[in-house]
């Protein structure tokens, strides 16, 4: 509370950018976790802004009507306030600036968030997603793949999970040697195992790693053997792909720093493929430009389209989706295993692997399945959530919308395959908010080890069961488990015109525009009604049997 100078400001005006008429006057309250605006109107409507979701606070010059303050959130909500006294405005600005930039993990919202669960339920909640069960769903361990204890206590690679799945044929020495030859020890390990049920019986896998420490000429026979072991664990295939998700130029530049990419002459039977996803800095700038487009006041169509083009955002989304499509095709159509890496193997690699998994496996298109996928490819494999999503006040160059892009790829796929996903757009947006909000412990820290050290499971709550309980809200009415789109591999088109501006995500500054009718919501209502009718129907059918069972009255249904 020491950061709050003025806990309450009266006669604040919340301005609606598009329709001034809809602006409202009320009281602003500052708590340690939220800023709350309560309208003076009869309804006393409340607007809650979570401090950990605040991206920045901007004060505009004071004018005759007061001091304007703009609060921009990480989930792209924008609040415009007009505070009568300049002093109050400065106080609010100072408080929010400090409160929205916690300096230590202990200050994060998740440590004070208390949904009133007892200890037992809290522990059970953390077990809701079980990665061991997920690998066994894929059929792992099996005769070709097994779990290795090599990373016990994170001694091989501190950003990897402690349990790693590797080819059985890779000896402990090879595993250790390969880790030594990879940036930050992130050796090639299994991400997804594709068991084909078609007559092909492909058993290709997707593995992931960081870049090899090749420099201009270095090689490691252990690393070469590791790749060989991965290739051999797919007996029907004679080669494997190494997908370097970076632009080739970037990969080459890394060689000067003793890193780089696999030399096709040193590794037997690999095919190297560059995809050209740009680095986190390019993506950060691109998204900022996109947000600016969404914030333009009354843009013309040209302003909008030009801004969209100039941001490059959709181009980057296409690159990520193209990477996923390439991998999915290799695995499902050609039956070839793929090793995916970028530089560190925790951003672009996570994107490419998880997009490919969504394309390949219908399970990841369900509500539970997407949670599992995020837990596996992102949380456990050391995607740096706290750095990328600026949970703490830190290096702004570490911030980048990597996960935003993954969620958007899924959204773009939903546009092409409306029946293929069990969840709806709201689910993706909710996930996005929680990745930034720090309300739960799931996305705190940068790797499994860090989360363990923070004892998050004891001190915070898990998001997943909470989302699961509310799944009715996140369900796509068009989803049916027996629909053709929910079977097998998705093959999306990635022609430029297939990509759309994600209005539900980036158009949120425009909140006053009447929420137009949503067909999905209508359909959900219809389905709910159908369910009630079904219940009524079955209860009607039971009535005669209960009341006049003996009389055998003419009642059939």
């Amino acid at each position: 509370m020491e950061h709050i100078r003025t806990p309450k400001v009266e006669n604040v005006r919340m301005i609606d950018r598009l329709t001034r008429r809809k602006s409202s006057v009320g009281t602003l309250y500052l708590s340690s976790t939220h800023t709350i605006f309560v309208e003076n109107s009869e309804a006393r409507k409340e607007t809650w802004v979570l401090h950990s979701l605040i991206y920045n606070v901007e004060r505009l010059p004071t004018n005759s009507s007061g001091s304007p303050l703009i609060i921009r959130c990480k989930n792209f909500h924008v609040y415009r306030l007009l505070i009568p006294q300049e002093k109050d405005c400065l106080d609010v600005l100072a408080s929010l600036t400090r409160l929205s930039r916690p300096e230590r993990y202990g200050e994060l919202f998740c440590f004070s968030f208390n949904p009133n669960l007892d200890k037992e339920l809290r522990e059970k909640a953390w077990g809701f997603i079980n990665l061991k069960a997920e690998f066994s769903r894929m059929g792992i361990p099996c005769n070709l793949w097994h779990v290795t204890a090599a990373n016990h206590e994170y001694r091989l690679c501190d950003t990897y999970p402690s349990e790693l799945f590797v080819p059985k044929s890779a000896s402990p020495a090879v595993i250790v040697g390969s880790a030594k030859f990879r940036s930050r020890g992130r050796l090639p390990v299994l991400s997804y195992f594709h068991r084909d049920t078609s007559p092909n019986l492909f058993i290709a896998s997707i593995c992931r790693s960081s870049q090899p420490l090749t420099g201009f000429s270095a090689r490691s026979s252990d690393d070469e053997q590791m790749l060989q072991a991965i290739m051999k664990s797919n007996p029907v295939s004679e080669f494997m792909y190494v997908v370097d998700t970076r632009p080739k130029l970037n990969a080459m530049a890394n060689r000067a720093a003793g890193k780089g990419y696999e030399n096709e002459d040193h590794y037997t039977n690999i095919k190297l493929q560059f995809i050209g996803i740009e680095n986190i800095h390019v993506m950060r700038n691109s998204q900022q430009k996109l947000i600016d487009v969404g914030e333009l006041a009354a843009p013309s169509m040209s302003d909008f389209l030009w801004g969209l083009e100039n941001s490059g955002w959709l181009k980057h989304i296409k690159a990520v989706l193209d990477a996923g499509v390439f991998i999915a095709k290799a695995v499902a159509e050609d039956g070839v295993s793929v090793l995916v890496h970028c530089s560190d193997g925790w951003d672009r690699t996570a994107q490419a692997c998880s997009v490919a998994s969504v394309l390949l496996d219908p399970y990841y298109r369900t509500i539970k399945g997407l949670m599992v996928l995020i837990e596996k490819d992102w949380v456990s494999f050391g995607h740096k959530f706290s750095h990328r999503y600026a949970h703490l006040d830190g290096d702004p160059k570490e911030v980048s919308p990597v996960m935003d892009q993954f969620l958007e790829c899924v959204w773009q796929l939903m546009q092409q395959f409306p029946c293929a996903f069990e969840f709806n757009e709201r689910f993706l947006i909710q996930l996005h908010t929680h990745i930034y909000s720090c309300q739960n412990g799931n996305f705190i820290g940068n790797c499994q080890k860090e989360r363990r050290d923070l004892r998050l499971q004891e001190r915070t709550h898990s998001l997943w069961p909470h989302l699961w309980e509310n799944r009715a809200e996140y369900t796509n009415p068009l989803y049916r488990t027996d629909h053709s789109q929910t079977q097998g591999v998705l093959k999306p088109l990635t022609t430029a015109y297939c990509f759309k501006f994600w209005k539900g995500m980036y158009g949120r500054a425009e909140k006053s525009v009447a929420s137009h009718q949503s067909p999905a919501d209508c359909l959900n209502a219809v389905r709910e009604e159908s369910q009630q009718l079904e219940e009524e129907l079955s209860s009607h059918q039971e009535v005669p049997r209960e009341t006049d069972a003996g009389q055998g009255i003419h009642m059939h249904a």
Partner: protein
């Protein structure tokens, strides 16, 4: 003239047809007076029947003696015919060329088409002005139906019956007509029942450079104002364009002469600019090799979406003046046959729930486009692949349909019809077996005797068997005014038309089917439950009677 003269080679065997999303077909190509037919003579593959009138342009290529004709259609489809034999190929190409560009309307297919269905309700009689006037009469007695244009001499592009203020006599109408471009004096377009405000439309006033005025014109439009109220004149052109029009005898209403009116200028493009926009848009959509940057920049450069936005914005403005400001509105551009109609018809869709039903929408097209004298034949003579010298073709109606689609997409439950109806109207406006869109105005249609010699599109659409395809399963009648968002991010490319032949819609169609299925299942359950409820109620009364007897 005999069609046979134009058909040098009526039949070629061994022709291979390539078309979007369908397996190639090898078969016999036949040319008739109105169709290009390709049949494999097997039951398994679908035949191609293409109206010559649907062909926008053709290209031919030769590799050895194998000729290829690329046929580009007005519905934006592109098909390819591989024809063995150079002579055959040249003959076919020149016949298609000649048959698809026939000048005489009376040679068009609608005059030869005999329906295979029984006409139950003659669409030519479905929407007569007398009927809509009866509706108006039930709401207000301020208006009358004038026969001043009975012989189309006052205004050739207007219908014979026009709704005008009751207090304005025919003589004044004649004077007002002489003051408006093409004789299109202000007439009633829409009466807003909720607050008795009206929307009128006209052509530009002929003020010229010396500021001519016409008392009768002023009186005519002032007659629509309530005492002490101001009205709005929406000029669909920018002030600069309207100024330039003065030099050619046109112009706009001077404040001094129309003190009770506030004039607002908007910037809807003229028809030749729109045609160019369509050509660029379709070009961008058809090149699948574009990088993201190139695609977005081509989309932007086509200006199509900007045109959609400007038209919708103007329509919203007109609707706003009427519904929110409680003011009457007069809309005009230059001729009053293009942008004017886009605005008045879209404003009605926003304001009037009746226009969002199938019947109401048909009536709107009949009233605000066909009878209002939109020159369909000129505007739809060529589509996006036209490479000849542009004449007066322009996608004015297509832009209107696009705007309707945008509103439909934003209010998916408020329309009785679905996207299919809009796409169907686009196709038939450009090439059809029906006579509805032939000619440029009521007078021309009368001379062509379309109602006697051709079948009306509405006769076909309104058959229950056909209607089903156009019904929106999500429809819940909504009596409110619907305000569409015109923010650029709310306006999308109409994929159903512009990407129709470029990407498969299988998954989207499946989603639509799924939606229909969910709603039908719900209806089925409702029926069952209702019938059970009735039976239950009946049983309860019977029980009561038995108990009473005891």
């Amino acid at each position: 003239m005999e069609f046979a003269e134009l058909i040098k080679t009526p039949r070629v065997d061994g022709v291979v047809l390539h078309r979007p999303f369908m397996p190639t077909v090898e078969g016999t190509l036949c040319l008739t007076g109105h169709h290009l037919i390709l049949s494999s003579r097997q039951d398994t593959t679908e035949e191609l029947w293409l109206l010559h009138a649907n062909i926008d342009s053709t290209e031919k290529r030769f590799v050895g003696s194998l000729g290829t004709i690329i046929v580009k259609c007005k519905d934006l489809r592109v098909i390819q015919l591989d024809i063995p034999g150079m002579e055959e190929c040249l003959n076919i190409a020149s016949s298609i060329e000649a048959l698809s560009t026939l000048d005489s309307v009376s040679l068009m297919y609608p005059f030869f088409y005999r329906p295979l269905f029984e006409v139950i309700e003659d669409g030519w009689q479905s929407f007569v002005p007398e009927e809509s006037f009866k509706d108006l009469e039930s709401m207000t007695d301020e208006w009358r139906l004038s026969e001043v244009n009975k012989d189309f001499s006052l205004c050739p592009s207007y219908p014979s019956l026009l709704t005008v203020p009751k207090d304005i006599d025919d003589e004044s109408l004649c004077k007002a007509a002489s003051f408006r471009h093409g004789g299109r004096f202000p007439v009633l377009s829409y009466y807003h029942k909720k607050n008795a405000m009206v929307m009128m439309r006209a052509a530009q006033p002929l003020t010229g450079t010396n500021g001519r005025r016409c008392k009768e014109d002023e009186k005519l439009i002032n007659a629509t104002l309530c005492a002490g109220k101001r009205g709005y004149i929406i000029d669909t052109r920018t002030i600069a364009v309207a100024q330039q029009a003065k030099a050619r005898g046109g112009g706009f209403e001077q404040e001094a002469n129309y003190p009770q009116w506030r004039r607002i200028h908007k910037a809807i493009e003229r028809s030749n600019v729109l045609q160019d926009s369509l050509i660029k848009l379709v070009e961008a959509c058809n090149d699948q090799s574009h990088s993201m940057d190139r695609w977005l920049s081509k989309l932007e450069a086509s200006n199509w979406q900007s045109n959609v936005k400007e038209i919708l914005t103007t329509a919203c403005l007109a609707a706003q003046c009427i519904d929110r400001e409680g003011a009457s509105v007069l809309v005009h551009g230059t001729e009053g046959t293009d942008s004017t109609l886009q605005v008045t018809s879209l404003a009605q869709i926003i304001l009037d729930p009746a226009c969002r039903t199938i019947r109401g929408f048909e009536a709107l097209i009949e009233r605000e486009w066909l009878q209002a004298g939109h020159p369909f034949q000129q505007r739809c003579a060529q589509s996006a692949y036209s490479n000849g010298k542009p004449r007066s073709e322009a996608p004015v109606f297509l832009l209107f349909l696009d705007c309707v689609w945008q509103i439909l997409r934003q209010f998916p439950c408020s329309f009785q019809f679905n996207e299919n109806l809009l796409i169907m109207l686009f196709e038939h406006a450009y090439a059809s077996q029906f006579g509805t869109f032939l000619g440029n105005c009521v007078a021309e249609r009368g001379k062509l005797q379309l109602s006697q010699k051709t079948v009306s599109l509405w006769s076909w659409v309104n058959r229950p068997q056909e209607l089903e395809r156009f019904l929106n399963p999500l429809y819940e009648p909504n009596n409110l005014v619907i305000w569409p968002s015109v923010a650029p991010q709310s306006l999308l490319l109409w994929e159903g038309v512009f990407l129709r032949w470029n990407r498969s819609t299988k998954c989207l169609d499946e989603a639509y089917q799924e939606m229909v299925h969910i709603i039908e299942y719900n209806k089925e359950l409702q029926n069952k439950v209702n019938s059970l409820r009735r039976q239950l109620a009946q049983l309860e009364t019977e029980d009561k009677m038995v108990a009473d007897l005891k």
